[in-house]
Structure formats: C-alpha cells, structure tokens
C-alpha cells in the first residue's frame, strides 16, 4: 500500500498542518511516512504545498513528480498540479475561487466546498479538517479516529478543547464527500 499525495493552496489555508496531521496519523498506524513542504516566503501568503507519502514499505524519494491524490485549494495549484495526477487518481478541490474547473476525464475529480462548510460551521479554522475528512472518506488510508488520537498526542494540553470541533469538521467533510 502506498499513497502519494500533494496538498496545495495558499499559505495560511492550513496546507502544511493538514499534511502533518495526515502524516502523523500514518505514523500511528505503523506506516512509513514522509512530509516534504515547499518552504520559505510562500508561508507568508503565497502558494504553499506539501508532499505527503504514506506507505507500508520504506519510502525512497520524498520528492515526486506524479501523485495518486491531489488536494487543491486554489486556481494556481490546480493549474500546476492537475496534470501531475496519475491516471485513475483522485483530485479533490475546493470550488470556491476556482474559475476553471479540472478538465481531466481519466481521474476522479471531486469538488468539496470546504470554504462554504467552514463558514456554515462558523469556524474558518475547521477548513483544512473538513478537507481531510473528505479525503479520508474518499480514500480511507487512515481512520478519522487515528487522526483524533494524533491530535490528542501532538496538541498542547491548552488546545485540547479544540479537538471536538476538529472531529466535527472531519465528520462534516466525510458527509459532503459521501453525498
């Protein structure tokens, strides 16, 4: 089993942290994981992306050209990465702010309106967890329970009150993906 994933969007959308939460859940499930970010000024509002690999065997390259899954959060990232999804792969995108929809027919393109859902939830911070919930529904590489266990282990105690909100966001994302 191997999942090669790119998550891409604007800095501040929680791209890197979503990747990290996913990678940590993989670690808890005993998988091999790598998390390779774009780094530098991109974090300050430009585009940001992270390559996450989960595998049941040793991972060679943390840097890839093609991906099984792309989670795309803005137009620039869609333009950049749509062609890099392997045939038969999965492309999840947030239609908010996307003026040109993905065009490929050899991959599964799924819109997840996480911006809208996070506004409905009244919590912009739920955004990336809604997308993660959708991703795990469409490709159950780790369980939402493991994600929550990971948050409990990595978040400082003072932030543990946020965990129920994160659980809610994951469930909401799964719900949207299941419709």
């Amino acid at each position: 089993m191997k999942h090669e994933i790119i998550i891409a969007g604007f800095g501040g959308q929680g791209v890197l942290s979503m990747g990290k939460i996913l990678a940590y859940a993989g670690l808890l499930d005993g998988l091999e994981v790598t998390w390779m970010p774009s780094y530098g000024p991109e974090q300050r509002g430009g585009t940001a992306n992270v390559t996450v690999i989960l595998s049941d065997s040793a991972i060679s390259s943390p840097v890839l050209d093609t991906f099984d899954i792309a989670v795309i959060l803005n137009q620039q990232s869609l333009d950049k990465f749509e062609s890099h999804v392997k045939p038969g792969g999965l492309l999840i995108y947030d239609p908010y702010g996307i003026h040109r929809k993905p065009e490929r027919s050899d991959i599964n393109c799924v819109p997840i309106n996480a911006t809208e859902a996070s506004v409905e939830m009244g919590n912009a911070k739920a955004y990336n967890m809604i997308l993660l919930g959708a991703l795990l529904r469409l490709c159950p590489m780790v369980s939402p329970d493991t994600v929550i266990t990971g948050l409990k282990k990595t978040l400082p105690e003072r932030h543990h009150h946020l965990i129920p909100m994160n659980r809610q966001a994951i469930d909401r994302g799964a719900e949207i993906a299941g419709i």
């Binding site: 990290k20 790598t34 998390w35 840097v63």
Partner: protein, 364 residues
C-alpha cells in the same frame, strides 16, 4: 508501536539529538532553511535540564568563533547554518582544524552562489570536501539522506571529531532539513563532567587547576620547521581517517550494468528512479557516499569495473563527479556522465531516468 517513534523535520531531529548526545554548547545564527535547529533548541531549554548552553550569536562569524572557544575547552560544541552562512564560518573552521580541535558544523545547503535561493542544493560539495577555508586541512563530511540520519549523525560526528581531534561537518540539504519523517531519537547520554574532560582531553584549556604546565590553544606557528611538523601531523590524521572512516551504501548493485552515484536527498530520488527503471528492465544500481570526505574511492573503483556507464547525480553543475572520476583505475574507459539541477530545483525521479536513458541509450 514503539513510543519513541517521532514525526519530525530533519532540523528538529538534529536539535533533539544534540541535547540527547550530551552536547555542551550550540552557537548559531538564523538562516533559512535551517533556523529550526536554533528554534528547537531554544524551545527545549536544555540549559534547564542537561546544562547545555544555547546562544544566538550576532553573526555566523561570531558563532563559529564561539565554537572555537568551546572546543578549546574540550567541550562538545556545534554550530549550524546554511550555505552563505557557512562561507562566513570558513575562517573559523580553518582555525578549528589547525588547532586540532573537535567540533561539529552543520550545513543545510541552499542554492548559490551569492545570496542565491533558499531552496535545496548540493552546491557546497567542493567547499565542504576540498577545504573551504584557507590552509591544508580536511573536514570529516557526513551526508545524511533521512531525518533519522540527521539525528544519528550528530553523535557520529561528535564521536569522530573527538576520536581524531578534527572538526566534522554534517552536509545536509534543504530537503533533508525541512522534510518530516519517522525518527527514533538516539539514547540520552549525560554531558561529560569537568573531571572527565580533563582526563579525556589533557590538552583542554580549563584553567590550570593545579596543572604544572599551562595549556594554550593556538594556531600560530611562525617557525617554518615547526609549522611543517604541524602540517605533517594533520596529514597523518587524515590518512588514518581515510583508512578507517570511509562509509558508503549500495542499492541494487549486485547485477547492475549501470551505476548512479548520488548523496544526500538526491540519493533518495535516485533510489526511487532505480526502482522505476528496474521495473522497465534497466539494470541500474546506486552507490551512495555517506562520507563525502573521505570519499569512497574503492567502492567507486570496484563498481566501475562491473558497469557500462556511471551517472553522477547531484544538485550542482558537477562537483562530486570529479571525485568519481579520480576514483577510477588508470586507463578505465567507463563513461562518467553528470545529471544536475541547480538554483534550488529538486528533480523528480523521472528526470533521473530520462538522463540515464539519454546518456546511455543502450541501457534500455
């Protein structure tokens, strides 16, 4: 699952490993892509636990000279930086080598020359392996290719530095520094006491403390005869290191008809390229130098007799390729080609395969 498995960036793992090794001091200055080393150490506050000193210096120049001072005292001290900052440290590194002092220097390389880019690079190979600073000296150069090795090479680097009384360098890159992987942190060791240092490092500047003679850490020797003796002694140390400490690793070389030589993050990319190429029936293997100095000449020489072509892949315009060529037997006709990306571009595995096929079309 073992409790001790962590998910960390290479830079963070290196910082944790330094505390756990029992390092006495870290002196650094912020520069991308390695600032997490200093940030992690400040967050860990090891001065409250192990007593380790952590100090943000006013410059890379000051930081390396703090390392020189600490090393003169027999302390296990280190610094980290990235390419432009490491250039600034070169004078101090030359002094540490000349003073026959143990120290650990970390370079998380970014693209140059000049201010360059903050993205990953391997363009400081020459600087690290051919001296870098002035005078006739070498560093032991370790090239990690995983977060685990970022942690493990801290201890290895310090151990080798103290064994041979010479500075060691971890030559990492922006990929290895910035990526997260699983890591098992090395065991916790206590810092050495002053008495242990005095016993193990009789040369250390500690204050005389009743010693009959004074210890002086100096690199100045105006008498040519005496200075040449110093140079000869250094050469003897380097000979010993070359004989005993050369390290490399091979992947799928047993039946290889083509060889890729790559270090650091590029070796990971090449490993994936080899897996993919093998699936297409191309018999290619990987030699990964772990020590860049001393360079694994014998391994290159041995494998060169088995293969029809060698591709050296590195994130520069052709640096390690010179050492690969120098490692071949006299009269060897095996072609040695180069694949490089620069400017902070990290190639993907397919580019490596494409280069292999274009350089050696018969490999297909």
């Amino acid at each position: 699952m073992e409790e001790d498995v962590k998910l960390m960036k290479g830079n963070e793992a290196l910082a944790h490993a330094a505390v756990r090794y029992g390092a006495d001091g870290y002196f650094g200055y912020p520069i991308t892509p390695q600032s997490e080393v200093l940030e992690t150490l400040e967050e860990l506050m090891p001065w409250e636990t192990t007593g380790m000193t952590v100090l943000q210096a006013e410059s890379e120049v000051a930081a390396i000279n703090m390392v020189y001072g600490g090393a003169s005292c027999g302390r296990a001290v280190m610094t980290s930086s990235s390419s432009p900052g490491v250039s600034l440290k070169m004078e101090g590194i030359s002094y540490i080598a000349a003073g026959e002092l143990p120290a650990l220097i970390v370079n998380v390389m970014r693209g140059g020359p000049g201010l360059g880019t903050i993205q990953p690079s391997q363009a400081d190979y020459f600087q690290a392996t051919k001296g870098g600073g002035h005078g006739d000296y070498h560093l032991i150069v370790l090239a990690p290719n995983s977060v685990q090795e970022m942690a493990d090479f801290v201890g290895l680097g310090f151990d080798l530095a103290f064994k041979y009384r010479t500075p060691a360098m971890i030559l990492a890159d922006g990929v290895v520094g910035q990526m997260m992987e699983k890591v098992v942190l090395p065991p916790v060791r206590p810092r050495r006491t002053q008495d242990e240092i005095i016993e193990q490092c009789p040369w250390a500047v500690t204050g005389k403390r009743g010693r009959a003679h004074r210890n002086v850490s100096t690199t100045l020797e105006l008498q040519p005869n005496a200075m040449e003796k110093n140079n000869i002694r250094l050469r003897q140390t380097y000979d010993l290191i070359e004989a005993n400490e050369t390290r490399s690793e091979e992947f799928m070389t047993e039946d290889a008809e083509y060889l890729i030589v790559a270090f650091g993050c590029t070796s990971r990319i090449c490993r994936k390229a080899i897996e993919d190429a093998r699936a297409q029936g191309i018999k290619v293997g990987l030699l990964r130098p772990i020590t860049l100095w001393p360079f694994p000449k014998e391994a290159v020489c041995r494998l060169s007799k088995q293969v029809k072509g060698i591709l050296v892949a590195e994130l520069n315009n052709g640096q390690m390729i010179e050492d690969v060529r120098l490692s071949l037997s006299v009269g060897s006709s095996v072609p040695v080609c180069h694949f490089g990306r620069t400017g902070g571009i990290v190639p993907n595995p397919q580019e490596v395969i494409d280069s292999l096929l274009s350089n050696f079309p018969q490999s297909k």
